[in-house]
């Protein structure tokens, strides 16, 4: 049973396009949703995160859109750059837990 599901294993966009990475979850108790970015040969690193009281979180070119009713969220990467090519993990946890559940990841390729 996969509690956090990322709809695409791989996504390819052209430089300058907006990349959209989708994620859904099952547990209604989840209220914190971080996205982690991982480059080859490195560990994942926090990119951006949202709490369920918000429906949007923006940080530069990266925006999370959150739909609590539908239990899904998406990460939008505006003006994608080749340097954004990486694996992106959607994750979720509830306020009382130190345990984070990760999705399987989406490998983003940005072509120049």
């Amino acid at each position: 049973q996969q509690q956090v599901r990322q709809s695409s294993q791989s996504l390819t966009v052209w430089e300058g396009e907006t990349a959209i990475l989708n994620c859904s979850y099952e547990n209604s108790a989840f209220d914190y949703f971080p996205w982690y970015q991982q480059f080859p040969g490195e560990g994942p690193a926090l990119l951006i995160a949202i709490r369920s009281v918000s429906d949007k979180k923006e940080d530069g070119r990266f925006t999370i859109f959150f739909n609590k009713r539908e239990k899904n969220l998406s990460l939008h990467i505006k003006d994608s750059q080749p340097g954004d090519s990486a694996t992106y993990f959607c994750a979720a946890s509830d306020t009382n837990a130190y345990k984070v559940i990760f999705g399987k990841g989406t490998h983003l390729h940005v072509l120049p």
Partner: protein
């Protein structure tokens, strides 16, 4: 910047072998985690700990033991390694304050079990 280091970075062992993976964090974090990363499975939690001497079972604990000797040091033990444990292992730390908190990952250890 939070710092998590892992050793060794690469390890090859044989089936039935004994392996210890080490992790150290200098962030004064309470929580430490061991994950394995496999293609098609993403990151899966093996064990975690909220302080020296504490151990919590994760989602894929079979075949693994762990020990937290100090606030800084967390070890993952494979006492009878099997080929199915060939994977990329990450350690992470978090939790200077209340849950939930950013997890800071180490660079990973690549383990090959022949």
């Amino acid at each position: 910047e939070a710092a998590v280091t892992q050793s060794p970075r690469n390890k090859v062992t044989v089936t039935g072998g004994n392996v210890t993976l080490s992790c150290r964090q200098t962030n004064s974090h309470n929580y430490m985690y061991w994950y394995r990363q496999d293609t098609g499975h993403g990151l899966r939690l093996i064990h975690y700990s909220y302080g020296a001497g504490n151990l919590q079972i994760g989602d894929v604990p079979d075949g693994y033991k762990a020990t937290r000797t100090t606030q800084e040091d967390f070890f993952l033990l494979l006492e009878l390694a099997s080929p199915s444990q060939t994977s990329l292992y990450f350690c992470a730390s978090s939790g200077a304050g209340g849950a939930p908190d950013t997890q800071y990952f180490g660079p990973g250890t690549r383990l090959l079990v022949l």
